[in-house]
Assembly symmetry: C2
Homo-oligomer: 457 residues x 2
């Protein structure tokens, strides 16, 4: 249990040590995030300012007359030990040290000094050399980039732990622009105290986190990571992207974070044994997470493909098989219902080709029959909006199906402005939409994987 | 040589047989495309109308007083033989039969009847059951969907041959919305006469086609396809996506187009032997094509990664190695120049991490040195626009490098509105931009592949 991490995410009161009046400074941006959005009291600390953003400024944290449980530190590295001593006096519970200039540039001693102070004062530390925390619910936001440059995702069900700040920031910006929501984001930097495993454990108890995404370059305690992960995945899925798969990548990792990336085969085995779902790249991670957040867990891996374009049916079939999923064999009852609405030459099989002149009625009948067919675990629905006969209102048909939550559905579609508008409407209806059958099949694979993991662990 | 296909792409005069006055009809849409955009004369043929879109309408094609070399046919299937007889009398050179209702619904006899008439009259036929042709230069456009529903890409260097109309239409719409240009698009449907191999041969002689993209489910003449492809790839690359890779996909192909998809291993070997570059999915096909159209062919496969985010450098390293490319070892001269502008703790290697506080100057110095470094064949440049210190004007630095055409460069970037705007500016500068290091590496792989193919075939 990691109850003592709560102050990072749901603090009562926050001090920003190194708050600044200058808009291009990190200490201004972070302080402004809190002033604008955080509900509780937030105090600026800076010995050279009297007032920042209309708030009285304190020369050190001990001067603040009321309790503070979270300190966000963004002073130059050399001042961090002194600031931490003050935090001990102030009895803060948690400190996020944004400042860089520690072991990542070779100064291991400074880092150890800071850790010693933190241990003495029982202060939990995230960082240093990190982006820190973004919590969409409590509005803790230590990201030192203005929202004009780095979008902030809306509240949602996925949480993201990132060993790399750069990876984290691009991802947040991407999720924000795609309209995907998150619960918590943590960039933990040099991890002198709180590490990726503590965070996994904390997020497993966090009700607003439905899926955990994890960018990892290496861990120092593989055994504990496995023990914790095994418990977590009983409650919620963990998607992991491992940087440093190849020996060259491993070498790059040691230059980057100094972690031991280790032999990839060991990580591969570990991930499999503890039920973490490994992904190949960042885009996959977040599209799969979206599927896991929005869709029910399937009973098995039998996928039914529905299409109004034969070529896409072929590509989807290849993709489903390539992912190791199986093609569902729909029941005779389902076939009978569908045959009533499609032309005699339509192939009522898998893929189910509703033919290029399909209208929304054909989709409606097919989805309704497949929804209750015990031979079908999940649906990969291809919608080519460009055809003459397919009405845009087919979007309501698919949204209606998804809202019943009978079995997972993902949509494959694509194209320009007209199609994009309809794809957005599907996404707003909490339906994962992919522009290629291959990615749609991979997303269904992650759902089937989690179904299997929950049964086996 | 396929000189007799010229009338499909550069006709002198066109008749649309089955032109209609009703805006929701296929025959209206196609005729309007020509009236709006085609430079030469275009005649509507319809026995039940006197005037369509202010043009005098003819009851059959033989009544047109001037020569016609291309007939576009969109009457119901049963009328096609009669219409083709008229085309023979009129001495048209080429007919695109859009109409469906032939072998794809089981009526093989009707198809054979049409072919017999065509052979007799020496008319080359594309179709039936196809989308036909879209040529961005001549403005031949038989796509029967209005541009509001299906975007039309601008002129550019790639041409696309598609065995599937649905795949073709989604792709055109996608290319249009991405701002990628094409030369010619051909959906050849049932291919009773002109087939994919004839088209490959024609496009190899077409100066405006720089790269050929090819969606194939199966061919009836593998030997000739290989012979032709071997010749074509000496002049320009062919990217091929094969539908029906798995045995289940092969089964779906036989339901769809009736082609024999055949054993995938045979296609795999054939593609390799004749130097066609196989891709895994549609998105890859068009992103690689963009790289092949815009970038010079590299001397070899040694890739230098440049980044301002360590985590992305790690992911790119993994991706480059996974694709079978090698990591360039930059010269000492290059290292020396770069070390002058980066902090002492920066790792001047591969990946070259310019560190999170990199500004545009560091990119400028690095790119300039790498551009003339004989140890470097291609550059994978990661730009995290979200960082505090990277000016948006770095876009000009990268565009300036690319305009020198020294060696290929692809960019990996991502994020929300701010980043997307800068990514568009890069694309406008003819630089391929990818949102993941994996796809960027794949694009470089296709360039290295084509370099190798040109040397070996």
């Amino acid at each position: 249990m990691q109850k003592d991490l709560k102050a990072f995410f749901e603090p009562e009161a926050v001090a920003v040590i190194g708050a600044s009046r200058e808009p291009n400074k990190i200490g201004y941006c972070i302080f402004k995030n809190f002033v604008d959005n955080f509900k509780g009291p937030v105090y600026p600390v800076n010995p050279n300012a009297a007032v920042i953003l209309k708030k009285v400024c304190y020369s050190d944290i001990t001067e603040i007359p009321k309790p503070v449980d979270l300190a966000v530190i963004c002073v130059p590295a050399k001042y961090v030990p002194k600031v931490m001593e003050d935090c001990v006096k102030k009895k803060v519970k948690a400190a996020i040290i944004i400042s860089a200039g520690f072991s990542e540039i070779g100064d291991k001693a400074l880092e150890e000094k800071v850790l010693k102070i933190a241990k003495k004062g029982k202060i939990r530390v995230i960082g240093p050399n990190c982006l820190g925390v973004y919590d969409t619910f409590s509005k803790v936001d230590t990201l030192f980039l203005p929202s004009t440059k780095l979008g902030r995702p809306k509240p949602g069900g996925l949480s993201f732990i990132s060993q790399s700040g750069a990876v984290g920031s691009v991802v947040l910006d991407y999720l924000s622009s795609e309209g995907l929501g998150i619960s918590k984001f943590i960039s933990y930097g040099n991890a002198i105290d709180v590490n990726e495993i503590d965070l996994l454990e904390y997020l497993s108890e966090d009700d607003s986190t439905k899926v955990i995404c994890f960018y990892l370059e290496g861990t120092k305690d593989g055994r504990r990571m496995m023990e914790v992960a095994k418990k977590v995945v009983k409650k919620k899925p963990i998607l992991v992207l491992k940087g440093g798969r190849t020996s060259e990548g491993t070498h790059a990792v040691s230059s980057h974070t100094g972690s031991l990336a280790g032999d990839d085969a060991i990580y591969e085995t570990a991930f499999r044994q503890c039920g973490m779902i490994r992904v190949e790249n960042l885009m996959d991670m977040f599209t799969f997470a979206d599927a896991l957040v929005t869709q029910p867990i399937p009973q098995g891996d039998r996928v039914q493909i529905v299409t109004n374009g034969g070529g896409f049916g072929v590509l989807a079939t290849d993709a489903v098989i390539k992912e190791g999923l199986s093609l569902a064999q729909m029941s005779d009852k389902t076939k009978k219902k569908i045959k009533e609405v499609v032309p005699s030459y339509a192939i009522v099989g898998n893929p189910l080709d509703l033919i290029g002149d399909a209208d929304m009625k054909r989709y409606e009948v097919a989805l309704e029959a497949l929804g209750t067919d015990p031979n079908v675990d999940a649906i990969l629905c291809i919608l080519l909006f460009q055809t003459v006969s397919l009405q845009p209102e087919v979007v309501h048909v698919v949204r209606g199906f998804a809202s019943k939550n009978l079995k997972p559905i993902v949509v494959c579609s694509g194209g320009g402005e007209y199609a994009q508008k309809l794809m957005r409407e599907l996404k707003e209806g909490k339906i994962p939409v992919f522009d290629s059958p291959e990615v749609a099949a991979k997303a269904l694979k992650s759902l089937a994987d989690y179904s299997r993991i929950r049964k086996s662990i």
